[in-house]
Each structure stands twice: as structure tokens, then as C-alpha cells.
Symmetry: C2
């Protein structure tokens, strides 16, 4: 999050919107496998280290961030509305919400104009660009997924292979 | 890791080498704070969920991956040599190794030619580009750092703020 305010360097550059999408979707496939690896009765109850939240709640936060990004990409509205206070959904609905986002990301990420990806503005967490925010959402997902690996190990369950996407 | 074998799309694209560096160094600053948050006598001994490794060993793996990337960027040699079997160093030397890498990354990441970042070849873990490998090293760092957060919570220690870089 330390990109300067100078005009973005469009050339030379490395990551196309298609690459960004593939990077994210590869991570999402792995996170989905981690959700599925939890026994249904532990996903929203077990925590390896109180006061940490159960993995189902962490995954629900990840869904919320992807929703925020999707709304921003699709409407240009990057204002932050705290998620409604409803309890996170039980396993089947969590995965349904997850799967519903996948084609929406597939449609939205590659067509957002590269120059707009790099325009800084007031975002949910400060003065950032949409690109910063997409990368932050991916980081947040990897971060919580890593925590899910510890929870699974604490439950005696072998987590999915990290390198497999 | 699902980029196609087609010619890399240099335009339009999003991430400059300088941005990639800032993204990585921001993550490294946070990971360094997580290393420092551990009591010295727990860093290489405590695990929240056996058979997981203590956080010091996970951080040492992260140092090894950054070394692999540095050698590749600096010499073009991306062959994989398993790290020597020596035990990971105690806290002070771990942080010294960490800090020694920081200016080396600062020097190497921005000057590697963009077109070479995207050339696929036989890498440590398959047929990938140096860019894939840099992003994988960052993901692996975030993954293990997330695990460090659980360990700290299990030790009753408040981890550093995730959003602060």
C-alpha cells in the first residue's frame, strides 16, 4: 500500500487484468477446498485460539470483501457499507454464496479499465486504488486461509496442498 | 498459476516492478513484526497444532524462498537446490538474515526486465514464470504469517495489525 501518488507506470508492467483474475481464482479454488475440509459441525463453532473467530466466519468475511470489490468494479461505487449484522450462513449457503461470486468475478475483473484500476480514491480502508484493494482482498483471503490450516491441523485433519490451485 | 502459454499481455497491464517491490516489502515489514512479537523462547519451540512447525521454522522457510528468488533475479539461475540441512538460526540471526535480504530485494526486483518476468521456464515447482514465482513466494509468506497469528493468539499475545504495512 505504499505506491506513490505519481502517475501510474503503465509501461513497463507485469500483470494483466486476466492474470490478476487467474491469480485470484486460483486462490479462491484453494480456499473453497479448505472450507470443504471442515466437518460441518466445526466450521462455525471451532476455534484453535480464542478469541479468534471460527473459520466459517473468517470465510464469510472473505465473501464480504469480494462483494465489496464486485460492487466497486461493476458500479464504480467504492464506499464502504458495513455488512448487515446477520449471522453468517451455515455451510451449504456459505458455499453457495462463494460459487455465486466466481462467475461474477470472471466477468468483472478482466473488463475493468487498467487506468481506472490504478486511480487512487477514498476506499473502504483509506486512500487506495482499486488494484491495491483487490490485492488486499486476496491477501486477506490467504491470511485467513492460513489460519484455517492451523484449525484443521488442530482438529487432526490434513489440509489441502497449498501449491495446488 | 494458470496463466496461459500465449505471449504475455504486456499492454494493458497493471503492476510495475516498483509496485511489485512495494507490495512485497510492505508484507515483509508486517511479517518482521510478527517474528518480533514472539517471545524468544517460543519462536522455535511453540506450535499451536502439532505436527505443525514452530513459527521460527516457517519464517526460515520464507527467508529461503526469498533467497531463491534473489538468486534467480540476480543470476538467471532458477534451478532448485534444497536448503542445507542446518537448523534454522535463533531469533537474532533470523532477523539479521531477514534484514540482509531487504536491500537486496530493493536492488534486484525493480531492475529485472519485465519481459523476462513473464518468460515461463522450469522453476523450483514446475513450469512457471519468475513473476508467478515471486507472487508464490509472497503468498507463501502471507500463508505462514497468518498461521503465526494463530500461534500468537494461542500464546495470549495480540498480533500486529494486519492492515498496517
Amino acid at each position: 500500500m505504499t505506491q506513490t501518488d505519481a502517475a501510474p507506470a503503465l509501461t513497463p508492467s507485469l500483470v494483466s487484468p486476466e492474470y490478476l483474475l487467474a491469480h485470484w481464482q486460483g486462490n479462491r479454488r484453494l480456499t473453497r477446498r479448505v472450507i470443504e475440509a471442515f466437518p460441518e459441525d466445526q466450521l462455525f463453532t471451532f476455534t484453535a485460539a480464542p478469541p479468534m473467530r471460527p473459520f466459517g466466519e473468517l470465510a464469510w468475511e472473505v465473501v464480504g470483501l469480494a462483494d465489496y470489490v464486485l460492487r466497486g468494479l461493476n458500479t464504480g461505487d467504492w464506499s464502504w457499507t458495513p455488512p448487515a449484522g446477520a449471522a453468517p450462513p451455515r455451510p451449504r449457503r456459505l458455499l453457495a454464496a462463494w460459487d455465486e461470486q466466481t462467475p461474477r468475478l470472471e466477468a468483472a475483473v478482466p473488463v475493468y479499465p487498467p487506468e481506472r484500476y490504478q486511480e487512487k480514491r477514498d476506499m473502504a480502508w483509506g486512500h487506495f486504488s482499486p488494484l491495491d484493494t483487490v490485492l488486499y482482498a486476496i491477501e486477506n483471503e490467504i491470511h485467513h486461509r492460513g489460519q484455517g490450516y492451523v484449525y484443521l491441523r488442530a482438529l487432526g485433519i490434513q489440509p489441502p496442498a497449498f501449491y495446488e490451485r
